[in-house]
């Protein structure tokens, strides 16, 4: 089928298939999945500027489906997500401004690429270490499997900070936390997302668990809730620049809707540490994609 906006010929079933695969991953891990869908679209012949915008558009729709499913399962903390959006918006702008400043140095792609790989490998290694440690705690100490987190240092200290105004997040099981901590985490993830040019799901999910002490299932659902707004904003700005082929996004979304539902439902069958252990592979995949790009072996 020919898509008049991008001018490329792509099998619509392939697009729906990509959406389905990324949808399962997104629903299960709470990530947008742009680092997987993007290269696949590029390999199908979609021009690079349309890859980013169209992927964001499909991500918006997929996140709506997955977040609604997670909400039905009681996994979305809308208050937390709403507060974090405030920080995320400013963070994204700060990250984008830093890129503009670095562009003057001439080697911005290398700087971003190396930072990206470093952060992703760090997240992957830490999440794998912590989740294995948590699983060991469950086996040896008979800790509640849903609550087990092998690393609580930062979350405990941040909960102890009393900088008013304080908010309670009952859905996440937090009696009182400074609003500045919540906005600060949003700012940090937004900054990294803006600087690295990604949706930021695979940065935000572990930060919610380890820095804020949010239970894994709620971190996944809340992350998807936030992606609706960040990806929706991105869709609008990219569409205004003419970088969105909405027909492609709609087709990808038909597959993603089912995948996201299945992925979100599957989280009920896995305990938090197991979800985190499986999740630890994702940032590594992202790092490999960037490494291939830096070495000139892949287009995305």
């Amino acid at each position: 089928m020919e898509f008049p906006i991008t001018g490329v010929i792509v099998d619509p079933l392939l697009l729906a298939g990509i959406g389905f695969l990324v949808g399962i991953m997104g629903g299960f891990f709470g990530v947008g999945g742009g680092f997987i869908a993007g290269p696949m679209m590029f390999w199908l012949g979609v021009p690079m500027n349309f890859v980013v915008g169209t992927d964001l558009a499909h991500m918006t729709g997929k996140s709506i489906v997955a977040a609604r499913r997670h909400r039905a399962l009681g996994h979305v903390d809308a208050k937390l997500g709403g507060l974090m959006v405030l920080g995320t918006v400013f963070g994204v702008e700060m990250g984008a401004s830093l890129i503009e400043a670095l562009e003057d140095t001439g080697n911005v792609n290398t700087i971003i690429g190396v930072t990206y790989i470093f952060i992703l490998v760090l997240i992957s290694g830490f999440t794998a270490w912590e989740s294995m440690h948590a699983l060991q705690m469950i086996r040896t100490d008979r800790v509640d499997v849903e609550e087990a987190v092998g690393f609580k240092g930062i979350a405990g200290k941040l909960h102890g900070l009393h900088i008013p105004p304080m908010v309670s997040l009952p859905v996440s099981g937090i009696a009182s936390i400074s609003i500045w901590v919540v906005i600060g985490v949003g700012l940090l993830t937004g900054f990294l997302a803006g600087f690295l040019g990604v949706g930021g799901g695979f940065i935000r999910m572990p930060l919610l668990v380890y820095v804020m002490g949010i239970p894994t299932h709620i971190a996944v659902g809340t992350d998807l809730f936030e992606i609706i707004f960040s990806a929706g904003y991105g869709t609008l700005t990219h569409a205004l620049k003419g970088n969105v082929d909405v027909m492609m996004a709609l087709l990808m979304q038909t597959g993603a809707a089912l995948g996201a539902q299945i992925g979100a439902s599957m989280t009920r069958f896995f305990a938090g540490p197991r979800i985190r252990l499986l999740f630890s592979v994702l940032p590594l995949l992202g790092a490999i994609m960037v490494m291939l790009r830096l070495l000139g072996l892949a287009g995305v």
């Binding site: 619509p12 729906a16 558009a57 729709g61 609008l236 003419g242 909405v246 709609l250 038909t254 299945i262």
Partner: protein, 84 residues
């Protein structure tokens, strides 16, 4: 043994769901999306602001519609009841 039987049941449920959903999506594609293609192409060429707003609106509307369809299918095929 019981666990294996439950996994088999889950896989069978997913396959049934995929077949039903595939039929629904193909019908949707031929009866709805095909007619939108040329109109969206013209809109993209003539009015980018309107195109951006309508794009976001279509994405949100389709997401809500598909969520209702897939939720119904999941409950119809008892996927939600399957436990491993």
């Amino acid at each position: 043994m019981v666990k294996r039987r439950k996994i088999k049941k889950m896989i069978r449920t997913v396959i049934i769901e995929l077949l039903i959903y595939f039929t629904v999506v193909v019908a949707y594609f031929y009866f709805v999306l095909r007619y939108l293609r040329d109109w969206l192409g013209t809109l993209y060429a003539n009015d980018l602001v309107m195109y951006a707003v309508i794009s976001l609106g279509l994405i949100v509307a389709q997401a809500i519609f598909l969520e209702i369809v897939t939720s119904f299918l999941l409950s119809y095929t008892n996927f939600d009841m399957v436990e491993t």
